[in-house]
Amino acid sequence: MKREIVHDIEQFLYREARLLDECKFQEWLNLLTDDIRYWMPVMGRRYRAFSKGITILDSDRYEEREFSNEGELAILDETKDSLARRISRLDTGMAWAEDPPSRTCHIISNVEVREGDSESEMIVYSNFILYRTRGELEQDIYVGSRQDILRYTGGDWKISYRKIILPQNVLSQKNISNFF
């Protein structure tokens, strides 16, 4: 992996985070490919199959997995169109959960770049802290990880896939109204 590519991708992710924090959502949308899948599965707690806390009755069916699969419930499961509509909702003057708007600060770290399926694609892992303030005293902190696929197209990187893992069983935040 060339160092310049890693550097370019890190800079891309930081710029993306800044656009979100500056509420430049249309510009952010331009960083996504038209076929993007933007997905945050939902978490559920399961015992490990070898746990001494559980005597499994039907071990053939037992699954340890904590996060929902494709086609199951999710917190976000978005296309470019649905993301664009979420953004245009903010411009209606009646998106009450975001008016007055949240103030956010995205901290992006642990960036790891791997080669993707084709030369023009990279698999990019990163962690995030999304800090949000709103109203008089509200403060929310969302911490998690992302798995992206970045595609080099039209002379720049774009995000063609983003899976967001927010490892909270019961969300303590009243909503998810910001982008990750």
């Binding site: 945050m40 559920g44 015992y47 499994i56 009755l57 699969n69 976000l76 209606t92 069983n169």
Partner: protein, 424 residues
């Protein structure tokens, strides 16, 4: 605490203290949540022997467990020894669960099967049969919906539901096999009193065109407001249950779901009978805290109380079991984009509910009386619909029925005085 001076449902006047007063909250736990039939889960979540999921009745942790013979049972999710939480998972499959503290083991019939050092430490004097998981007093399913109550004197579930059964059928029994829920639950805590959320789903058509216009105008619901929007119903089929209905052809479905609905129309009509030609139930509440929606989202949800000013929402997406995969996928995506933590409808609701609750903290503002008088005196009992109804597109008649029932439950210990059965 006397409730009658706080809730005057006949005149549509409600004191804000019922949303923030800790004593009211405590009384509510005993008089409402520990006595009513409370929703636990959908049978499709635990289809096979040994399957379990955890749930809550009010703030009491519960485990719903299908025993090895296939019977659904529910217990307090609490070890009888030290009160430790027995099951730490949201769902799974088990013949037995073992407490993490001292290793007491319970079978999926609730019986205590194993106690470490039983013979040596208790000198053979310990009777395991006396210390099972504490079971709920009654458990019954209605069309796949599993309910339980801690009150042995509560009337049977069907009696408790009364005429609401037909309205539940219109959500959950439209086709052979009923509905199934997608795997996974949205669980999140919101800063409001549970009743503020519940009353909204009981009968608040009023807020839709204003509070949700941003979501409606950007394609998160296919519903187009009608120029002459009079034919919508607020229905109170009795016992505090509430339904918001629309004209049968008034839909918020996407074109794909509308085509599906046309395909299944005669089957649905055959199952539900001619009443379905009069009304399309869109939002329903089983008193006190179970709600369902069909249209913009197909959601089943419970408003779990978490203190006067906090509510934990558990929300699932359901779909007709026989619906084709593409229709299921459309409903799944529409559901999570409109309702749920990131739902474009839900987040605007929650902001409003939060401020309706938190501004009642002040000693002066909590004495304020709220106006729930819209449509007062304009309701009538409709025999065809089996419910009190208010036909103008907006009304607070369901709010009044909900709070009337709540106030009555809060003060009445004897179920025979709670007019179960016939709508009043």
């Amino acid at each position: 605490m006397g409730i009658s001076n706080l809730v005057d449902a006949d005149h549509g006047l409600i004191s804000r203290s019922i949303f923030v007063d800790p004593q009211i909250y405590e009384q509510e736990g005993r008089m409402v949540f520990a006595r009513c039939w409370m929703y636990l889960c959908h049978e499709s979540q635990i289809p096979r022997p040994g399957d379990f999921c955890t749930a809550y009745i009010g703030e009491d942790p519960v485990i719903v467990w299908r025993d090895t013979q296939g019977n659904i049972r529910a217990f307090l999710n609490i070890c009888s020894h030290r009160g430790n939480r027995l099951c730490r998972a949201d769902s799974g499959n088990a013949a037995a669960l073992t407490c993490a503290y001292h290793g007491w083991t319970y079978g999926n019939d609730g019986k205590l099967k194993g106690v470490p050092y039983q013979q040596s430490a208790y000198r053979g004097e310990f009777d395991r049969e006396q210390w099972p998981l504490p079971a709920v007093a009654q458990l019954e399913s209605y069309k796949g919906l599993v309910f339980a109550t801690f009150d042995p004197s509560a009337p049977p579930l069907r009696e408790y539901l009364g005429e609401m059964t037909w309205y539940l059928d219109a959500f959950f029994d439209r086709r052979d096999g009923g509905v199934e829920v997608f795997p996974g639950v949205h669980k999140w805590v919101i800063p409001c009193n549970w009743k503020v959320a519940a009353e909204n789903f009981c009968g608040d058509n009023y807020h839709g065109p204003w509070a949700h216009r941003s979501a409606m105008s950007t394609g998160f619901s296919a519903r187009r407001p009608r120029p002459n929007d009079v034919g919508r119903f607020h229905l109170s089929p009795g016992n505090g249950h509430c339904v918001m209905g629309r004209q049968p052809d008034d839909t918020s479905d996407s074109p794909e779901v509308i085509a599906y609905e046309q395909d299944v129309r005669s089957e649905v009509r055959e199952r539900l009978g001619p009443r379905i030609d009069l009304v399309r139930p869109a939002v329903g509440t089983v008193f006190p805290n179970f709600a369902c929606v069909r249209g913009t989202a197909n959601s089943i949800r419970v408003w779990h109380p978490r203190g006067p000013e906090r509510t934990e929402i558990w929300s699932w997406i359901f779909v007709d079991k026989l619906a084709p995969p593409s229709v299921k996928e459309t409903i799944r995506l529409a559901g999570l984009r409109s309702f749920g933590p990131a739902g474009t409808f839900e987040q605007d609701d929650i902001d409003n509910w939060q401020e309706c609750t938190q501004t009642a903290r002040g000693v002066v503002s909590r004495t304020q009386v709220l106006n729930m008088q819209m449509g007062l005196g304009q309701e009538r009992f409709d025999q065809g619909l089996g419910a009190w109804t208010s036909e103008f597109c907006v009304s607070e008649s369901n709010h009044r029925h909900f709070y009337r029932r709540w106030a009555k439950m809060m003060e009445t210990t004897d179920w025979s005085e709670l007019s179960i059965g016939a709508p009043r």
